[in-house]
Assembly symmetry: D2
Homo-oligomer: 294 residues x 4
Amino acid sequence: MEYNEVPIDDTYAEAFPAWIARVIITGATREFALAAAVEATGFATSTIGCPCEAGIETYLPGDMTPDGRPGYAILICNPSKKKLKEQLIERIGECVLTAPTTAAFDGIPGADEKIPVKLHFFGDKFESQVKVGDRDCWSIPIMEGDFVVEEEYGTVKGVAGGNFFVMGENQMAALMGAKVAVDAIAEVPGVITPFPGGIVASGSKVGSKYKFMNASTNEAYCPTLREQVPDSKVPENVKSLYEIVIDGVDEEAVRNAMAAGVRAATKIPGVVFISAGNYGGTLGPVQIHLRDLI
Amino acid sequence: MEYNEVPIDDTYAEAFPAWIARVIITGATREFALAAAVEATGFATSTIGCPCEAGIETYLPGDMTPDGRPGYAILICNPSKKKLKEQLIERIGECVLTAPTTAAFDGIPGADEKIPVKLHFFGDKFESQVKVGDRDCWSIPIMEGDFVVEEEYGTVKGVAGGNFFVMGENQMAALMGAKVAVDAIAEVPGVITPFPGGIVASGSKVGSKYKFMNASTNEAYCPTLREQVPDSKVPENVKSLYEIVIDGVDEEAVRNAMAAGVRAATKIPGVVFISAGNYGGTLGPVQIHLRDLI
Amino acid sequence: MEYNEVPIDDTYAEAFPAWIARVIITGATREFALAAAVEATGFATSTIGCPCEAGIETYLPGDMTPDGRPGYAILICNPSKKKLKEQLIERIGECVLTAPTTAAFDGIPGADEKIPVKLHFFGDKFESQVKVGDRDCWSIPIMEGDFVVEEEYGTVKGVAGGNFFVMGENQMAALMGAKVAVDAIAEVPGVITPFPGGIVASGSKVGSKYKFMNASTNEAYCPTLREQVPDSKVPENVKSLYEIVIDGVDEEAVRNAMAAGVRAATKIPGVVFISAGNYGGTLGPVQIHLRDLI
Amino acid sequence: MEYNEVPIDDTYAEAFPAWIARVIITGATREFALAAAVEATGFATSTIGCPCEAGIETYLPGDMTPDGRPGYAILICNPSKKKLKEQLIERIGECVLTAPTTAAFDGIPGADEKIPVKLHFFGDKFESQVKVGDRDCWSIPIMEGDFVVEEEYGTVKGVAGGNFFVMGENQMAALMGAKVAVDAIAEVPGVITPFPGGIVASGSKVGSKYKFMNASTNEAYCPTLREQVPDSKVPENVKSLYEIVIDGVDEEAVRNAMAAGVRAATKIPGVVFISAGNYGGTLGPVQIHLRDLI
């Protein structure tokens, strides 16, 4: 199968369920909402080593937010609901409450499950309950004025680890293919690409020759090891590759993101192959086949 | 005392020692180095609730980096050397190794103390030792090519919690004063402003009326509580205030940053008072008086 | 009348007809399309002294552009159709053809009137006709590869000079009100705000006490002259004001933009009055009353 | 000759004298100074079709500007001193005077020649003379407050058209090579790269097979015509190339910029050749040989 004249591997991305919450961060201006969203979604590429996976889902103009101010929706994601709650509390408390001009609201108000995030105790009994539209919020006096925050965040069982590989005849072609894919995915509702700039440069396999390591480089996908390892998955004409990892609120969203990403990446000259990562079905129950996307 | 016709409080910032490491992250282009630096310094505003404090210190053009490529120096900061080591490993491993086109180098090579950050084991015995200039590094095969990384990071006992308050006749004046201060501090070597966009909107005191809370809003610095609390520190003409918190490699650097920030903030119309935060000398041994700065 | 508790003047913006063309600039990535769009819309704030008015209307993801690549739509505007043609030729020829990875397409293909922009002659007989979807384009060999360009640009009689004033209790409040208005207007289809950052700091009246000047500062709207001039339009509680000027493809678009801008600006604390600019109906036939917007 | 293992052509860039002025634009914050600088330097890639060449030279922190606020220095360049004067007046008048919070100052106060830029007449006799440090300026009442501007701008005979070519094994390699070169040149004092994003995708030769065209594509540098034209300058392994054009205040500055750019570009994998453009010495008296740079 080809798309934009680029061969598409007949394989699938293997993904798995994870709990996801969505926080709407508003600010006096777009810029200040963004500063908080960037801080709140940092150090959150992979739950292998970070306390959660997180990213900015979308910009929301003022007519799409609870308080009529510009904002950003972020997704925070963890396979464990308990750890998701911890991270919601810490990231709203340390990165939004402290940020200039911001407020925080539940981004999935219709979810069946709610995570309580009791931030109003910070107000030391100076806080008060307020309504923002029909939402129950708290207003906490702080240095800049009053911080408004909702305290229950809907959570849904979403899908983490959606992915595809962008392979290039050299590094800059693969890189620009990955970059334009990330930009395209940014327009898809309900998803994030949690790695730096949305792009993964380094893939891992489970286990290692070093006994004390749980994970190590996935040599089958290392172009510079192509001649050295028996089972390389790197095609002969590929000198570099990147992975795009996608977390989303449901499988449909992840599927849409993968499709948008592949369509965009294959427009870049020098992108020569698209594939996807799976573990033969041992990791997760969700399988998204590339051939179904385009 | 006045500066740019703005009254400067006769008080001091109280700061305390903390261990600091400096990581130089280079990339193929400035943009990709920045993506990694942003991710690696996120969720790192305050060690009260984040695993460390971190921020971008400065951009480094290619002629100032070990491998001749553009980069950013970041500072990672923690009162505990053990926690600093953990965070160095996780943040380089999860946010730089995984980021496109990057390499990581020690940013304080002359420091007496070194923190070992053994990342080469990720290479699963495919890694090899390489020299970058006169630095001993490891080259680890990954998907995009080879990741180059230094494994020992110099650490120094720096100063955390340097600070000053920018107070305004309304919120937007205080906010722009804070913002221009952060931009000015960005030019000072050896410091970071770890909060979102460099600005703190919410200050805390130790303890709370709620027994289970260790920290809570500092009502003495809340403009909307000015009439309600007996000991308010908010001047009558102040409707909003922000704090700039500074961590630096030594007291001199923090002092320079505070001076640059105060000079800049006082140029903004509507900024009407500058002060600084201290706990009467109970928190930390470092006292930086505003009157000595300008 | 009030909106978000801010008084809205009972007056109207006076606007006038102008010819508008829309150019879709695509690029390999969003970033490169933007670089061309920024260059092509520079030096274009007001036809009083610039050769046209121009600005970026909107970002277009790849699934909304003729060639499937990310892009930006820009508007170019002039009361004279002849000058609009000149500017289309020069700005596409000097700022898009020369920009990395870009292509240029007609953004109003359904317009009754077309402006011919014969760029293919630059190809020196090496150029060839190509189809992009169902559009007739030219492909011109250049250094980076081949430049693809459409040669007929639809033009419509739009509306220029839509406007409103954001007045603040001090400069930073007015400025942030203007800024958030510009961000809100950026989401409205069919309009641009051609001034630097979308904001006008300096208004003019026709004529001057200096005989050789056709235009000069509009003292009635100068806060620092409030006590000096007999007919000041600056309310007593206003220390600074900004104007947002809007050009759009039709009156409806300009009206939507004004409404979005006023709604956003009035959310900023310290914005205390909204008005609009007119010349008593002597300048243009279009009158947009603020009371009809919200 | 090779640099970073990339062959460097044994040729020279041919450049020519042009008049240059430097305007320092300051603002309340870095961001607002930048908005004015971007507008004032747009539509200014090449004097072939634009009224001047212009670009941002450098950011200036508050401690390096006349009024202590953050700013940007821009260069405006034209072979004709008369046209340079016209453009100075129009670009300061339309793009800086109108921009929020800005002021404009002479950036080459030590120059022997001065260009008068009489903007104070806009003040309609409400203007007044003020000192900013030891500089004679005018203060003009406008909507946001008072606009401060210097009225004499030093001009020097600089060098325009400094250049080099970045050639790649494919388009993305050449493009990233060009991009990193532009970033490196941004650090060099006294120069600009006036094309969109600093990069030229399309080169021209004098004359055309179409009689009415003065300039047309330079087929000798078109990779897609390599097999068709007898005298192609495109090496066999090159599929795409970009030019970096540099204007500077003197030959030394242009030379430094070329050196910085070549050093940076050759670090990008897939950049395979560096050359420079000349017309056999017929265009301009300045010849800068690549071999002397590195």
